[in-house]
Point group: C2
Chain length 127, copies 2
DNA sequence: TGGGGTACGCACCTTTTGGTAAGTTGTGAT
DNA sequence: ATCACAACTTACCAAAAGGTGCGTACCCCA
């Protein structure tokens, strides 16, 4: 047997509690949220916004080598998750500003220590 | 103009400090580390091992619907990162146990609050 | 008159990620 | 004699993520 078992089979006789149950089961909505905030671009956008609200073009140039498509996509999913708010003024060079909502600030506060740990650990490893 | 600019161009006149510099530049080794620990399977494996060392087969059945290929691959990269250690005894049903190293415990301690936040936030959202 | 900035959306293509199924080695059970 | 388990590896294929380039609308500047 080498096939991957179904969710039902796995839940049926689960060997590990995995932090108290279904939090880590694959269809849990919190899993999607985690993907959004720890994803390659989501994390960068959140951290960039942790320094204060920024315009589209600031994010575009400030985040190393992000494509316009990915920036737009990332901002839209973070907005849908309620972590980022979009403030658009209908002026004639369009002016759109993005910033963190309260929940956005919360996650970012959890993400920054992770970045710091990664920086320190990878630095101490390469010596 | 819509092409993605190169790293050099971006670093040339960077608008955002982004948490003090090159930590978030795309070739930084800490970025790879973050991908490994927050990736879909890396996170699950680390959390599963946070409850104590487990055998291959326990992880295989305990983590919801992971394929053997992905489990092996994830364990090997986490081992290469120094976050997981592999304890294999050459007995005749092979016995291999995986556990967290000290740095592995450190990251996992940072990851768990993130999972808890995601669980609470997604729960409170859907009401 | 033409080029550039601002904030995107869309279509196409490549790269990466992940799943499926099969093979491996040795032993003990049926 | 064959099946199953343990802990994997490999080859092949599908799906998802991501990049490139183009188009939009409006204006300002030279």
């Amino acid at each position: 047997m080498s096939r991957t078992e179904t969710e039902e089979e796995a839940v049926g006789r689960r060997a590990l509690p995995l932090i108290g149950g279904p939090i880590l089961s694959s269809d849990c909505p919190s899993r999607a949220l985690i993907r959004d905030v720890t994803g390659k671009w989501g994390l960068l956008v959140l951290v960039a916004l942790s320094e204060g609200p920024r315009r589209w073009s600031e994010l575009r140039h400030g985040i190393a080598v992000i494509s316009e498509k990915m920036l737009a996509q990332t901002l839209r999913t973070l907005e849908a998750d309620g972590l980022v708010h979009r403030d658009s003024r209908p002026v004639v060079p369009p002016y759109v500003e993005y910033g963190l909502t309260a929940p956005g600030e919360e996650v970012t506060a959890l993400l920054i220590p992770l970045l710091e740990w990664a920086g320190e650990y990878s630095e101490q490893r390469e010596e």
